[in-house]
Subunit: 271 residues, 2 copies
């Protein structure tokens, strides 16, 4: 069901951040996250499963969210499947207006896949207006499949199941900074129905239904192998003909269904 | 004029090498260069203009060419426009069957642009079967325009006139190793008629008329912005929609006129 502006009623937003977002002056992706989550009335939960420094990470986010006027920031340190299925965990997530999944090592997030936490996040995102952000490791985990590792500079990649909050998209992060296009291309070559989305640092896509808008300082690189020819996928080097590539800075939008970019209204105003 | 195989009669070959080609065991791009230049009967001239270590570079190439059976290897150390227009220089180049332009700093090669050496190389390549190879700095200098610098990880690039031995192509090298796709994209965004060709280390394109074949260990990345939409070219970050991208490992071919890749016969035999 959509409202008169075409927005899905009840549908929340995903904010997929490429890592190293500005955490000091409260601009960019984190500010957008707070605005979407209800500004001063936000109730934010920070999931620190991926990091091995949960106290430091929580303190850092609490500081920046406090600067943005948010008083309710709670850490959720899910450390195993039991805690991810725990009723107390679900209660906390049920009350949140915004959930941020921190960076770290995305393989630690694998244990959330298919948990009651995962089911709740999926339901509240699609039916209950929840805002979910993931940064770095927490960003790639948002897809149906996530990149677990692989060298950025050569065509090798390891992928595994993700939280499935964003279908048909394979996300990579720290994208330009770590030269990860070869890795992302090798990922989508394994299954060309997946759209590759590489997000630079301090940059994010804000997903609303089937569309996203780019915010932040860098670029989002979209690679679409839908009409491509692939040979030797999974090997190095592979051959790949006719991939479509888009470089999208802030204000550009993308239709995930039609696989088409356009200049959004915020960008047109700038120009 | 073409012969019955479709090859241009009298037309030489260009071998554009992405740098760090194997110089010890005599395989890959350098072996191909020697084979094309006449094998044991090759008369090879090494142009060391770009490097600040001309003796070492010449000695290294002389060793590998000697291993490949070539006895005639001469250094040509063009150090200014006068030497590039000198009749003795032209005589030496007139007698060569293969010319290799070494790596180093490509801005040093700018002084060759439009010189009598440049004119001679152009004529002998197109009419007299000369084989010309360039590696690293010597590779990018072969195009009508060459990349002079710019950060690999962000969208900034500096270009200047090149030797114009390969028209309508902008060449970048050490491509995957230094994450240079953003730089190459920013180059072609300045003039979308140019095809971007990024060559990995120990990898080369062998150009024969309007076509090239990939040889060596890595991948050649072709980016074609012919049908692209560009906004903010020359700025960082720019927007670029609908670039076509191809990853071409050894045995893949590309038609520079039609802008289409295909699997060449050597690759088909392998499979």
């Amino acid at each position: 069901m959509t409202d008169i502006t075409g927005r899905n009623v009840g549908c929340g937003r995903l904010l997929v951040i490429g890592g190293r977002e500005n955490r000091t002056c409260g601009t960019g992706p984190l500010k957008e996250f707070v605005t979407l989550s209800g500004a001063r009335r936000s109730r934010i939960v920070v999931v620190t499963t991926a990091t091995d420094m949960p106290e430091e990470v929580t303190a850092e986010y609490a500081t920046v969210f406090s600067r943005l006027g948010v008083s309710s920031v709670t850490e959720l340190r899910l450390i195993g499947r039991t805690t991810a299925d725990d009723p107390a965990t679900l209660t906390m997530l049920e009350q949140a207006t915004g959930v941020l999944i921190s960076g770290g090592d995305q393989s630690r997030l694998s244990m959330l896949v298919g948990s009651k936490t995962n089911v709740l996040l999926h339901r509240r995102l699609h039916e209950d207006g929840l805002v979910i952000a993931g940064t770095s490791a927490g960003a790639t985990a948002l897809g149906r499949w996530m990149i677990l590792g692989g060298d950025g500079a050569t065509s090798s990649v390891r992928i595994g199941p993700g939280l499935d909050l964003l279908g048909n998209v394979l996300i990579d992060m720290h994208f330009a900074e770590r030269g990860r296009l070869p890795r992302l291309l090798s990922g989508i070559a394994l299954d060309v129905q997946y759209l590759g989305v590489g997000i630079d640092e301090d940059t994010a896509i804000m997903v609303d239904g089937d569309r996203f808008e780019v915010i932040g300082r860098g670029v989002v690189t979209v690679v679409d192998a839908d009409r491509a020819t692939v040979a030797d996928a999974g090997h190095n080097p592979m051959a790949l003909f006719d991939v479509r590539l888009h470089l999208l800075p802030a204000g550009c939008c993308f239709d995930l269904e039609q696989r088409k970019p356009w200049f959004g209204p915020t960008r047109e105003e700038e120009e």
